[in-house]
């Protein structure tokens, strides 16, 4: 009985050591992502990181486009204001020109009535 127990104890030690060696090998392979649950985690993390990076890049691009739009809107507003101002000035100049033309016309008529040659 004692002999049987001694043999069993030796076997347990040997097989225990062997199991520990195999378990360590499996754990090491799992750690570097060759097998096991860590491999799945690495894939998940990589996908998640790729998605995050893509989302961040899209958000960045969108922000840039929005900034461009804002700048463009400001430019168009400024251009519109300037155009309105120019049109108003043109209208005033036109009215003034018409008025001056009418006055010249009247003076020419007065010169003609007085029989004087109007100045060139």
């Amino acid at each position: 009985m004692t002999g049987l127990l001694a043999v069993t104890s030796e076997q347990v030690t040997n097989y225990g050591a062997l199991a520990a060696l195999i378990a360590a090998l499996a754990a090491a392979l799992n750690s570097i992502g060759v097998i096991g649950p860590n491999r799945r985690k690495i894939v998940e993390d990589t996908n998640s990181t790729a998605t995050s990076r893509a989302t961040a890049a899209l958000e960045s691009a969108l922000t840039r486009v929005e900034a461009d739009n804002t700048r463009l809107r400001e430019d168009v507003d400024q251009l519109e204001a300037k155009t309105t101002e120019c049109l108003e000035r043109l209208r005033i100049v036109t009215v003034e020109r018409d008025s001056l033309a009418a006055r010249i016309e009247r003076m020419n008529a007065a010169f003609a009535a007085a029989g004087i040659e109007p100045p060139a």
Partner: protein, 152 residues
């Protein structure tokens, strides 16, 4: 800011893993010596408790694990290091178990407890490396080129 688990910061990384480097190099030397000349290990509990081919595997784990762990730290390769540390952990656990079996819980208790402490440190290092690897994988650095329209 880099952490001491980031291999790009070589000085901090190696400083934090000094214990692993030292233990790895010592284990490599002892394991290699044992593989070359088995008579050097006649007083070893593991050699007395284990069969011949298991002893060879045990010594291989010690030598190769130690070399990988030290090389992983010195060459700044965490994957290499983690494999080596796992091998060293197996070696330490088996050695502690063999000491307990060979000398009994009282005679070998202190040595086995020391082995447990080493195993705890090694396991902690593995946890640190896993944590660092996961954090590195989850880093989101937005690789968008500068806007050429505004930097022209």
């Amino acid at each position: 800011m880099t952490s001491s688990l980031d291999p790009t910061d070589a000085v901090s990384y190696r400083r934090r893993a000094r214990v692993i480097t030292a233990y790895g190099l010592i284990s490599c030397c002892i394991g290699t010596a044992g593989l070359i000349d088995r008579s050097l290990l006649t007083t070893s509990s593991a050699v007395q408790a284990l069969d011949g081919w298991v002893v060879v595997a045990f010594l291989l784990y010690q030598a190769v694990g130690g070399a990988l762990a030290a090389a992983g730290v010195l060459l700044l390769r965490p994957k290499l290091e983690v494999v080596g540390v796992w091998a060293l952990l197996a070696f330490v656990v088996i050695n502690g178990g063999a000491i307990l079996v060979n000398r009994g819980p009282v005679g070998g208790g202190v040595t086995a407890a020391s082995m447990a402490l080493v195993a705890y440190v090694l396991h902690g290092r593995i946890g640190d490396l896993h944590h660092a690897a996961r954090r590195e994988r989850r880093v989101v650095d937005v690789g968008v080129a500068p806007d050429r329209r505004t930097t022209a």
